[in-house]
Amino acid sequence: MSTELPELAAPPPTGAGGSSPAPTRRTFIATSTVVGGAVVAGSVVGGTSLIGGEEAAAAERPPSSRVSLTVNGTRRSLTVDNRTSLLDLLREHLGLTGSKKGCNAGACGACTVLVDGHRVNACLTLAVRLEGAEVTTIEGLAEGEQLHPLQQAFIDEDAFQCGYCTPGQIVSGVGCIQEGHTGSPEEIREWMSGNICRCGCYVKIVRAVRQTAGRK
């Protein structure tokens, strides 16, 4: 079966495949903040030191397009290499590293975000296609200091171990609750099956979703 998961649930190095050495997590966070600021001002991304392996592979300046979208309530206008996924846009260009890269192939759900209210896999979404879209990531769920009820339920239920799948689980859970597929634990399991948890926290994840749905 080709829905196999990668051996490690760890994010690949940011510069994988490129000629420059991969930045450490610390330098990555520092630089991305700077670029994140520049992006709001409407600069060109891609061709910076932060471009991913796929983008770096092109010799000439690769075909790019301008796109305007709203991410967690903030309007962003930028030029992206056409190959940039929404997941890489969020993580590498906007500094929003909550959404995780597990398989980069639609097979794990770690990258789940809401686009115009619907849960989707950010790894299979090309950023260039999101003109006018509203994107909500795990970073956009809380209201100030007030966690989203499902975030709080994950803490109360202890619904994670390593936490790698958790942002995707929570955003997917928000979608699942909105869709109304929370009638029974079985129904939640089926409709949350697009989110794999390597630590096997499923029982508590289902409990957290059920509780939150019931509260509404």
């Binding site: 080709s2 997917s172 869709e179």
Partner: protein, 326 residues
Amino acid sequence: MHPFSYTRASDTREALNAGRDGGRYIAGGTTLVDLMRETVERPETLVDITALPLGEITVTERGGLRIGALVTMSEAAAHAKVRTLYPVVSEALELSASAQLRNMATIGGNIMQRTRCTYFRDVTADCNKREPGSGCAALHGVNRTHAILGTSDACVATHPSDAAVAFAALEARVHLLGPDGTRQVPFVDFLLRPGSTPHREQALRSGELITAVQIPPLPRPLRSGYLKVRDRQSYEFALTSAAVALHVRGGVIREARVAAGGVGTVPWKLPAVEQHLVGERPSGALWSAAAAKAADGARPLQHNRFKVELLKRTVERQLRVVGGTE
């Protein structure tokens, strides 16, 4: 991923023009982006067709259904008319992929999706489908999930779609629009068996656009449903599956539509099973006798012999469930 240019078609004419110039249509992107990342697909131009007016589901006269090519899998599965008229379609869709993928993926893209054969997805492996003439690594390789029906020495890969199995069973038609106008192709002729040309997968002409899948009306009352057997309970492709629709009146089966998935190089229509059922009275003995014909002509490979028996049992079980006796 190779670089590509990107355009958004605002109407059908623009899309066809871009398609004529060699552009590749992208709908949900869940097959195409994945395979582009693996460099299995290397389009130079992507033509975004999501703005085209192909997102409607309409009931045709006498209770058939026309599902627009850009209707998402989740929209089609949730649609009240699909659920009441053809549960076999909504069930096949809901048992596919994940909620996230179904929100993105479209009906047109679903029937166009490419095989999940691991050698096809691995650009370092020999694969006639990906690179004609290079050989077939699956033939004597790890072929547990591969096809037992409709195979050739050139390719033994399954068509992975679940919805396509329901469409094949119901004898749907694919509506196409090309530079020379519209045409319709019966579902069984739309997806091609590999033969000696496994790289040719659909009867789609260059630049042609799928506009809809149309399910013909069937006499009522009609009972239908989809059963999928797989290695895990959800978010997994079928090892075997069965789409069944039965019209029973006066205690006699008047119409039967049966197809199997996970076993064929294309969704596998089962006319011998259908013929065995028509004119008979539902009974446990009938279901097993009919299902015994489901694997006729099967050519199992080294690692997928189990599919022969599993297929018969899958069809028998689903006949029982839909037929409602025993």
